[in-house]
Subunit: 346 residues, 2 copies
DNA sequence: CTGAAAGCGCTTACAG
DNA sequence: CTGAAAGCGCTTACAG
């Protein structure tokens, strides 16, 4: 990189002192520096294409305007939307993001946290691909931190999370409303907090409607997992008239099997996905009815919270829970609408 | 963040000067500092949990050990794998990544480049989600820069890219080898360099084999686009016995339509995808034969190149092109293998 | 109204 | 063998 102009260069060119340059360029010239010299400073700065060295600024102010982002991508990776919107929100306030990924290894995470601390990040954003509990290590307690899509079980650190129980309820409700009584439930990652909450939501809604709560069928997280599970469920006795899938790729698998079995969606089978973040389900034919996790809004809120804290807001702990709206598309119909139509034999 | 110990604190505790602390901790103690004092310094550093302030280090050394990453996610986002592996490779050399995304807006990009420059990043990595031409603005010419998955048309900046023509050839060849003569070609983004090269590869392979080169059918980039195009192509007169899709989601759409039309893969229809980065096609049933773009290796190479430059290697321009291996799975068969089997009527 | 000094936290010549 | 000084590039009191 070609040597860049410093405040001293500008001062020399304008014939003033370094302090004058600083004052003028930071808008504190009026009343301190003569009009004439102010002009000279501005002209010199423009001519030399001068902008202050952020590293020097950071050393002096002891703030780097940098946020450390800790994530552990897992199979599908952490939401593109979250990263995108976090980046944007931070950028609007002249903050930058230093991204790390922990490989889901505690030892790696510890090292990375140390690195980020050495780099003097002003705050931390911990983002999980799937809703989970996360117990923040010591350093995160003494530095402004917000958890995105994860929760501190001790409630000592702020978090922004989706209401996964409600998501499950909404998926079940749209089906119930259409008259479905035999609902299949395909889940991935059954041990995860995310899946447990989603399942609970589905079951609560069913119970509330006086319908036998669907038992989760453990599938997996991928298309083929979903296909396998859907095939099993749909070819059993008394097959369900509708399927709820906790993961987007599971839902794609289910759609594939429906096509393969000659089941028309939604006439012969209704489908709902509890995810649409990868824009897979919304682009199926017919486009699938989904419950949407507002990744963008959540990320913006999380960064916003962090920025408020950094701006001097009271350090009170917030736990913000976001609603997940139902996005009705075209994959839900009424069961038995076309009683004469039988599934085509395979 | 609690006030952290500085070299001065360590010096005070150990009863030596600040310089002694620096010398000892940077391994230049031997021959300069007495054994005894070295021990005292190390003990004090450990006791205070001292690590140097990276910002101060950066100011002094005029290197931040930070790489600026410029990307423009687009619809599908830039490869998770690329980010992951770039992060890892950089981390191994104590470099961190400052990620920005340009929203595909030249004005935004200019501003972000300025920001990154002010932050004194040591080098730039420009990463494109799809192979494209990228004309680096001035500042990237005067700072170590590597283009990942994009190419400087003027050849003035180093780049790491996949061989997309070869990718197209390999997809066509596996089909040709199995005896296919009527091959359909579904493309997304027909104007993009990526698609043009992929199409050229497919056509070259066909021509070389004495087969009429397939004409690209413009579909789009999503599942429903692929479904629509596949449906049209497959229900025309003399439908192809195999389909090549330039984009992964197109391939998913094609698989969906195959299921819907009762076409068995690979007995009735063979399918090849020119992408498998989202782990969609590889998880279909049957798993699809694909051409694999080595995102991880490319990202590692790109960061490696940048690091070498930063380490003082000669500033020669490198244009590294990566081979894209064929991953044979189960979606390619021989045409007419089961002549008695006719597609089921819709 | 303006310039010289101090200091953020480091490391590296340079005296002693 | 060790400490005092200079300097990376900035801004903010502080003298004049």
């Amino acid at each position: 990189m070609a040597r860049r102009a410093t405040a001293q260069d500008v001062a020399d060119l304008a014939g003033v002192s370094r302090s004058a340059v600083s004052l003028v360029l930071n808008g504190r010239g009026a009343g301190n520096i003569s009009e004439e010299k102010q002009k000279a400073v501005r002209a010199a700065a423009a001519q030399l294409d001068y902008t202050p060295n952020a590293v020097a600024l950071s050393l002096r102010s002891r703030r780097t305007r940098t946020l450390g982002v800790l994530t552990w991508p897992g199979v599908v990776g952490f939401s593109q939307t979250m990263l995108h919107r976090a980046l944007r929100k931070a950028g609007e306030h002249s903050y930058l993001l230093l991204v790390m990924d922990t490989d889901d290894d505690a030892e790696v995470e510890r090292r990375q946290l140390d690195t980020l601390r050495d780099r003097q990040v002003d705050g931390f954003l911990v983002v999980s691909p799937a809703l989970a509990h996360y117990r923040p290590p010591e350093v995160l307690h003494s530095t402004p931190t917000v958890l995105l899509n994860c929760l501190d079980p001790d409630g000592a650190v702020s978090s922004v999370t989706p209401d996964e129980v409600q998501a499950g309820q909404r998926a079940a409700e749209v089906l119930l409303r259409h008259g479905h009584r035999r609902i299949g439930l395909l889940v991935g990652d059954p041990g995860s907090l995310q899946s447990r909450l989603r399942v609970a939501g589905v079951q609560q809604a069913a119970t509330a409607a006086g319908v036998e709560p669907p038992q989760p069928v453990v599938a997996g997280r991928n298309i083929d997992d979903g296909a396998r599970a859907a095939r099993a469920v749909l070819s059993g006795p008394e097959p369900p008239t509708a399927l709820v899938c906790t993961h987007e790729r599971l839902a794609v698998g289910a759609a594939l099997v429906a096509a393969e079995l000659g089941l028309r969606v939604p006439q012969d089978l209704s489908l709902v996905s509890l995810e649409d973040g990868e824009r897979l389900t919304s682009r199926l034919d017919p486009p699938m009815t989904t419950v949407h996790r507002p990744d963008g809004a959540m990320a913006e809120q999380a960064v916003g919270l962090l920025l408020e804290r950094l701006g001097g807001a009271s350090p009170e702990i917030r736990r913000m829970v976001f609603s997940c709206p139902l996005r009705e598309r075209a994959s839900v119909g009424c069961p038995g609408r076309a009683p004469g139509v039988l599934p085509r034999p395979r």
